[in-house]
């Protein structure tokens, strides 16, 4: 059997940098890729924006090569600055890998894992020539979805929630090339039938009335824009709550400076703190320092295999900040370095120290990365109060929540406009019932006003909808009829879904409301009513009716009348 020091499965961004990093340490590396080019979503997926915050030297030569070659290449270039020709990037990756001695096999799909007990010792794969296998000192799973880890029997976190995916095509925009980023709803790529159906539906939805020369189409990307899949159960885990509460610990091997770039519009289905963070406190644009410990790449109870890519051990919420190209490069480089150290020293991956890895790829020290996340927040109650009067109060709302600022905000409830609403939101986050009066008013009049994000863009959720959600958080029994009416009569998804969420909570938590709440919810779950649709990022119409019915039925099962 042929043997390599390291086999990397998947030549997406993480896989490319894993293979390159290992090869530069003198390793004999095989890279398996199921498509016909390197770069994954960043090339084959037609995502031209570079999103490069990797801060590692390893990518510098490649970046320079691509950007230098773009002009005069005779290739149609992307529309915006800081975008690359995905075609030129494919070749730049490939040439750098080949130059460093990496053997690349395209159209190779990993079909099995060779193991000795809990130790992965090689891979099987299938390509157009048939089935093959090879041994390896270390296997790096860079398949994004953790396919190799799953085949090896690794454990995964059980989040079950995923971000929407994108089905992208490239087209002519003016005199440039651009990609239509069509968020296409949800898909479970672990379910082959569901994946196939969704891929067919999303491509079919892109048939225009008339194909035209003005927005001439080029190519439906042969790789789907899957933003999230399985998350490994690692020896350490990156958690959203730790990041936003400044509780990150351990010895990081990588840093990311990113926002939680959620593409989810129906955030009402998410974890409560994430909803409050993104919607009530308008914080999804805020950039955080996210540190990634080495243990997040290592599967629990297994040796000989390491994760590189968005499948690392991170919860669903945190993973939305550690999935971009820059981070993938860094994770790939680290996995490649760790694998090389393990092979050279003949020690298991779990014995490789974080210090040895960071000696090869030092943690970046750019100014923004050295800031503490705590510096993002306001601590002075007077300043918080003043900021709450603005149209973009997110930082102040979250600061009040983190620092427990309540009393100074009571005065705001007697004011009008943004001050009154934002004051109520900040108090409701802290379970302060003084917010109730304002919240009820907002729901009663289905208030359509919207605050602004940090970038001064109006948020999707109107004040009235956020208030409806917060009434559930405050367990406001008096608002039960109001919420029932909103749920049953509103024609706006955000109002209906927020009222529904609160009704579930009120029904569960209050014995006196249980029977009437049960009836309202049962009637919905078993009836024909359709929930008003909403638009996802690309403008696709999404229908959450079945999702809401399914969740409702689950809740009803747990209610004892």
């Amino acid at each position: 059997m042929i043997r390599y020091d390291i086999i990397v499965a998947g030549a997406g961004t993480a896989g490319v940098f894993a293979a390159l990093s290992a090869a530069k340490q003198g390793m004999n590396v095989l890279l398996l890729e199921k498509t016909t080019a390197c770069g994954g979503i960043g090339t084959n997926g037609a995502i031209a924006p570079y999103y490069d915050r990797s801060f590692i030297d390893l990518s510098a030569d490649i970046d320079k090569d691509v950007f230098d070659r773009q002009d005069g290449s005779g290739f149609l270039l992307p529309l915006k600055r800081n975008c690359v020709s995905t075609e030129l990037l494919k070749r730049a990756y490939e040439q750098e890998l080949l130059k460093n001695g990496v053997e690349i096999i395209y159209r190779a799909v990993v079909s099995g894992v060779l193991s000795d007990g809990n130790h992965v010792i090689g891979l099987r794969w299938h390509d157009p020539q048939g089935n093959h296998e090879a041994g390896a000192g270390v296997v790096i799973d860079a398949t994004a979805d953790g396919t190799v880890l799953a085949l090896a029997g690794a454990e995964f976190l059980e989040d079950g929630i995923r971000q929407p995916y994108a089905r992208i095509y490239s087209y002519l925009a003016g005199d440039s090339l651009w990609n239509f980023g069509g968020d296409a709803g949800y898909v479970n790529q672990d379910d082959p039938e569901n994946l196939s159906l969704e891929l067919l539906k999303s491509a079919a939805a892109q048939v225009p009335e008339q194909f035209s020369e003005v927005e001439k189409r080029f190519l439906t990307a042969p790789v789907p824009g899957l933003r999230e899949g399985r998350h490994l159960r690692g020896r350490e885990t990156v958690r959203f709550s730790d990041i936003v509460h400044n509780k990150q610990t351990g010895n990081p091997v990588a840093r990311e400076y990113a926002n939680f770039d959620t593409h989810t519009i129906d955030l009402v289905f998410e974890d409560e703190e994430f909803y409050l963070f993104c919607v009530a406190a308008l914080q999804w644009e805020t950039h955080f320092n996210i540190t990634i410990p080495f243990g997040a790449l290592l599967p629990v109870g297994m040796e000989g295999i390491i994760a590189a890519g968005r499948m690392i051990s991170a919860d669903h919420e945190a993973s939305q900040g550690v999935r971009m190209k820059g981070c993938m490069k860094h994770l790939g480089a680290i996995a490649g370095a760790a694998a090389a150290i393990s092979v050279k020293k003949k020690i298991s991956l779990s014995k490789v120290s974080s210090q040895e890895i960071t000696a090869l790829y030092p943690l970046p020290e750019r100014a923004e990365l050295l800031k503490q996340n705590t510096d993002l927040w306001l601590s002075d109650p007077v300043e918080i109060k003043e900021k709450l009067k603005k149209s973009n109060p997110g930082t102040a709302i979250w600061s009040a929540y983190l620092n427990g600022v309540t009393e100074p905000l009571y005065e705001l409830l007697d004011e009008s406009g943004f001050a009154r609403v934002h004051g109520a939101f900040a108090l409701a986050l802290q379970h302060d019932k003084k917010a109730l009066k304002v919240l009820r008013e907002l729901v009663e009049r289905e208030d359509q006003t919207r605050s602004e994000t940090l970038r001064n863009e109006p948020v999707r959720e109107p004040h009235g909808a956020i208030a409806a959600y917060l009434l559930g958080r405050l367990n406001d029994k008096e608002s039960f009829p109001l919420l029932c009416s909103l749920f049953e009569n509103s024609r706006d998804f955000f109002f209906v879904s927020a009222a529904w969420h609160s009704l579930l909570r009120l029904t569960e938590n209050n014995s006196e409301l249980r029977r009437s709440g049960y009836e309202v919810l049962k009637s919905f779950a078993e009836g024909q009513r359709k929930i008003p649709p909403f638009r996802c990022y690309c403008g696709e119409i999404c229908d959450a009716t079945e999702k809401m019915k399914s969740i409702t039925l689950k809740h009803l099962k747990n209610i004892t009348l």
Partner: protein, 249 residues
């Protein structure tokens, strides 16, 4: 359900045509774009509707026409994937994308990390040429700037040198770049980029919008011997038509 009369390997035009006119067929494909053998090689050829023998194929032709994807015997290749996906859904064809055939006896297919054994009375492979590949092309989709024309020497060149075929729109064309049969994707990309960088002035108004994700291959087998190999047909609708005809036999 895991019992099928036929397992078709390749969500190709031939394979989809066969499944559209059959029952109990499962179509699987390693990729995610049905019809990739023509769509992802930027095929601009389209036959005349009277050359098609089946209703299904003529119907597909009419839909392409209705959506402005065909004009004057030329096809807009980017229309193929979304239109074929729509056709698959409309005709409720059983397709599993991102799925490979890893064993033929017993039949074992794999999607992501999940493997399953299925039973199929017959396997039809529409992806693999049964004969030797004697011509291979690495194509590129071109975008022409204002007033770009295809020089005659490229329009009517020999099969062994780069040629350019016009697409559905005046600013659309496809470069057919011949490579030797043993050439891999990395080498082909390098050769094509080098050629394009030094292309003659007469092509300066044309730019590469995309490189084909797949080689276009021509085999030396007779049509009969190689009848399941979808890319062996000169255009997607002839492949679709032939798949349907095979099912109706």
């Amino acid at each position: 359900m895991n019992d099928y009369s036929v397992l078709v390997y390749g969500a190709t035009f031939w394979g989809i045509g066969f499944a559209a006119a059959s029952s109990g067929v499962l179509v699987i494909d390693p990729g995610i774009n049905p019809g990739h053998e023509f769509a992802d090689t930027f095929c601009t050829k389209i036959c005349r509707p009277e050359q098609l023998q089946t209703e299904f194929a003529r119907y597909f032709y009419s839909v392409l026409q209705k959506h402005n994807a065909i004009h004057d015997g030329k096809l807009h290749p980017a229309a193929l994937v979304p239109m074929l996906c729509s056709f698959i859904l409309e005709h409720k064809i059983n397709v599993l994308l991102d799925t490979i055939l890893i064993e033929k006896q017993p039949v074992c297919i794999m999607s992501g990390a999940s493997k399953r054994n299925i039973s199929a009375d017959q396997i039809i492979d529409t992806l693999t040429p049964s004969g030797t590949v004697w011509k291979k092309y690495f194509n590129a989709l071109l975008h022409g700037e204002e007033n770009a024309v295809i020089p005659t020497e490229y329009l009517n060149g020999s099969a062994d040198s780069p040629t350019i075929a016009p697409g559905r729109f005046s600013s659309e064309a496809v470069l057919h770049f011949p490579v030797s049969p043993g050439t891999g994707y990395a080498e082909a990309r390098q050769e094509l980029e080098a050629f394009w960088r030094l292309r003659p002035e007469m092509l300066s108004k044309w730019k590469i919008a995309a490189l084909a994700p797949e080689f276009y291959e021509i085999t030396d087998s007779s049509q009969q011997k190689n009848r399941f190999f979808s890319q062996g047909y000169s255009d997607p609708l002839l492949a679709l038509d032939s798949g349907i005809m095979e099912a109706l036999k």
